[in-house]
Amino acid sequence: MKYLRNVATLKLDAERCIGCGVCSTVCPHAVFDIIGKKARIVDKDSCMECGACARNCPACAITVKSGVGCAAGIIAGMLRGTEPACDEGCCG
């Protein structure tokens, strides 16, 4: 199953990439592949913007606007005037 096309905010700076491969290890949707000692985004539409890759990239080569892909969380955030956030009692 795939979600909407062309929405993910994931970006990879190939210049900075040191080819350590941690992004492809932590990505739960096989968005990255390591090709010729460099990471490459091979399936951008599968990105769920969890932020695991960017958080673990030691070279700061990845940016993604991470957050919860959760309608209830977005509504709760709008009502509270905060960023989208899971409500207590929602994620168990």
Binding site: L4, H29, K65, C70, E88, C91, G92
Partner: protein, 343 residues
Amino acid sequence: MKKKYITGSIETKGGEIPTVSTSIDRMDKWGAFKARCSIGRMRYTIRPGLYAAGNPDQDSIVLVSANYKLSFDVLRSSLHGIDAWILVLDTKGINVWCAAGKGTFGTDEIVNRIEQTRLKEIIGHRKLIVPQLGAPGVAAHEVKKHSGFTVIYGPVRASDILSFLENGMVATAEMRKVNFSMRDRSVLVPVEFVMGFKHLVLASVVFFLLAGLHKGGYSTQVALTAGSRSTLILLLAFLTGTIMVPMLLPWLPGRSFSLKGLIAGLILIVVLGVSGFAESNIIESLAWILIVTAISSFTAMNFTGASTYTSLSGVKKEMRIAVPLQITASLTGVTLWIIGRFV
């Protein structure tokens, strides 16, 4: 209260460490069932700290987990025949993946928990096996910098830990992927159902009260018959969005959840029409088409939070289109339904 999953304790250089059973008993299953149904879920916690599975020594592996008891139970029951330490972080009773998203399952908590448990005195090596889904909150290189521990990302599912260890701590591509199988989806349905149910009850009460309106004034008799009928349709629309859509997710057309919900709602409308449950007057029929699709679309859209593959940008995009339509449809529907009372 004695915790049955704690079987004893081990003396270590860092103090006494409780040992845990690697099997799940009836109480654990009952607790899991209740948590799955959203009963006392935020209180289904265990004390953060260090635990022992089997009979670990200073060379044994250290596995990191969350203090949500369901997460902890899944982990310990996957460790049959293994000697391991379990480092339980304080995630406020939230599972690993959600807590990592919030940052409570994170770098700082790992570093602090290592100190608090005196882990460095208890073990001789400096490796931690962190569940892969903890990665959104954990920066492996930062953990290394602040604690000296190397983070090894274990598989997504605890059930793969044995194979992962046998494979020399290397995960296969399959172990690294999150799925969203029929079983994965079905265990999430009860929570979605319970979360939305109070709104359904509230709506039903309003419909019951308004159902008695007619040209001649107000009739309790009409309120009961028309109210029951309205409640049944509302319930069916709600069940369509909270059960039918999650179950049929891969096969419903479209990619956005709100569209899948809309289509499922239309299927329900057709079923109601064919089964002779349709309204006699056109205004009321139109009202129900709008109300049913608004409910099924909205509740289906809410399943994005339970899914394992939707992104924030994507959900925002579908909401920009869907939410105004859902609001318009439900308000128009309710207005038409009230007008229909007087026709």
